[in-house]
Amino acid sequence: MNEPAPAMPISFTAGATRNWPLRVSLFILGSIALLCLIGPLVSGHPYDQVYRDYVLVRPSLFAHPDASEIDNAIAAIARRMHVHIEATRDGETMHLTLDAEKPVDPRVLRAFARSDLFAPAHIAATEDEGRRLEIDVPLKRMVFLFGTDANGRDLFTRVLIAGRISLAVGLLASFVALTIGVAYGAVAGYAGGRIDSLMMRAIEIVYALPFIFFVIVLVMVFGRHFVLIFVAIGAVEWLDMARIVRGQTLSIKQRDFVAAAEALGATTPAILWRHVIPNAAGPIAAYLAVLVPRVILLESFVSFLGLGVQEPLTSWGVLVADGARNIQGSIHLLIFPALFLGATLGALQSLGDGWRARA
């Protein structure tokens, strides 16, 4: 198979800070990574916390509960506990008067404690042998920046947690692809001749195997083990890396310093490790920046088929796939994860371009 002419080895840090798109990309990636790492710890919501009273809430900068939510919640509790409730609002506390025909069950307080809108209530006064209760119920303030999902979980936190998973999948799978690909390609290129032909033939064979099928089957077989998804995806994406590295190795091994190292009696692994691979680092890094987005997109495709990461964890792929099924109705479920996914992929792509342009 023919390869594009091998590029000159490039230094991928030189000039990085002067290149404008490169800077923007790094900034975006850095911010997202930081947000995903730290955000879930400070967002005020655990990522798997279910708020039964806040299912499919729209994104808002204002804190919940709002007036109508409070009214509905109080009415629902009144119905359920078979009491009549009069409510007045005093700042952040509700003063409620409960009336019933029989003495009110003190367990009614649990209804308020269990509710996501209210903090635990206390009885201010009891009258009429318990048939009338005065209760103070503080409001529990919560902000759902990105809204909530169909289970009532905060989307903002989930998008960030998903980011951890997606980035982890992207990096780990790419690392797997990198390791296998570089090792394979370097060995093939350096060995040359028959061994090289054989190894490249093997790549062609695996190349023709429809990889979606392969990934699907692997996920079906190993689905519950999260890490194996990385391995499956990585195992499918190493081929191009191998080809690039092999091409690079072919040209690098003609260079003088390699001949010198051979003459000095260095072993093959040492030559590969100390001379060949570092000089191929440029195209490797550039390809890596393209590989990570490909891996993340492949993960999203697998998630769309329902074979993604297990609950309660989630990934951008899962969130976007769910969001795509909610376009008419709760489009916030699509927009926010898609924004993060898009920004990350775009930044990675630009990064790759920037490095490649260093030639």
Binding site: I216, V221, F301, G342
Partner: protein
């Protein structure tokens, strides 16, 4: 050249065999079989069914049966669409997928080239930036987000195109699927073409032509010819990407193509259907890559295909 071509064709057969074996045994790894369903079968009946379809024989024996029928060009009966053989299913689905895929690739090459040209020809910095930026969108949005959005926009809101269905190949029904499939490829081709053209325009022989006062069109013609190889190389990968995308496009737009057989077959444990799809796609990929290499050789006479000195 002829030797190269023949050698590649000869290589295809063992390659396909290995792929068939890999796919066959891999599929059996997945838990469950084709007769598992929502309403569990009576165990005796299930056993009987497996016997009728020869699924209770040893794996190697099943594999041998399969190879034998393959040799006759018979992919076997589908286990999911039990009234059809896999050959019959492919007879309708393959032309459809090929038609859609080809149109998508064509659109990708033409539109991508046009955009890349536009960007490369622009004297200012803004042109290429716009092309790069727009292309980023195409690459970054997953197919299963683009497809519903297009359906909503053109189908439900503007009412100018059907929302889905194949309708025996009516051209209106092909527009949205082709565009959805092509979008990511247009983006990539545009960027590749733009970058390659800019490099080509800077090359010595092009500058010489300019110095001689050749008209612009000729110059761009030459530049295009020099810029095509990376794009053509990419087309092999593009075909694979179009295949992945076609699974989703076919499901959302309701198109009876090969892509869905992949996923439906694998998820439904329709062994024969999956094997058939794998064989057909692998053969297609090998063929396509061969064509790509031939085109590359025709474009760039410097390429040689002898084995390299070790």
């Amino acid at each position: 050249m002829l030797r190269f071509f023949l050698a590649r064709v000869a290589m295809a057969v063992p390659t396909l065999l290995i792929i068939i074996a890999l796919a066959f045994f891999l599929m059996r790894l997945a838990p469950g079989g084709p007769f598992d369903s929502a309403r569990a079968l009576d165990p005796e009946i299930a056993k009987n069914l497996r016997h009728i379809y020869k699924l209770d024989r040893p794996l190697l024996e099943q594999f041998w049966f399969y190879l034998q029928s393959l040799a006759h060009g018979d992919f076997g009966p589908s286990l999911h669409w039990r009234d059809f053989t896999v050959n019959q299913l492919f007879a309708t689905a393959l032309p459809i997928s090929v038609a859609l895929g080809t149109k998508a690739m064509l659109l990708a090459v033409l539109a991508g080239t046009a955009l890349g040209l536009g960007g490369a020809m622009s004297k200012s910095q803004i042109g290429p930036r716009i092309v790069d930026g727009a292309a980023l969108f195409g690459i970054v949005l997953p197919v299963f987000v683009v497809a519903p959005l297009l359906q909503l926009g053109f189908g439900l809101t503007l009412h100018i195109l059907p929302v889905g269905g194949w309708n025996d190949g009516a051209w209106q029904n092909q527009i949205l699927p082709v565009i959805t499939l092509a979008l990511p490829q247009i983006a990539i081709v545009a960027r590749l073409m733009q970058a390659a053209l800019r490099d080509a325009l800077a090359m010595p022989h092009i500058r010489t032509l300019r110095a001689f006062g050749m008209p612009g069109f000729h110059i761009y013609g030459h530049a295009l010819r020099a810029a095509f190889p990376p794009v053509v190389s990419y087309l092999g990968l593009a075909a694979a990407n179009v295949l992945t995308g076609s699974v989703i496009v076919e499901t959302i737009f309701g198109i009876p193509g090969m892509g869905r057989y992949f996923v439906d077959g694998a998820l439904g444990r329709d062994y024969t259907l999956v094997m058939g799809t794998v064989v057909v796609v692998a053969a297609a990929v090998l063929l396509f890559n061969l064509i790509v290499d031939l085109v590359l050789a025709w474009l760039d006479p410097r390429v040689r295909y002898e084995s390299r000195p070790g």
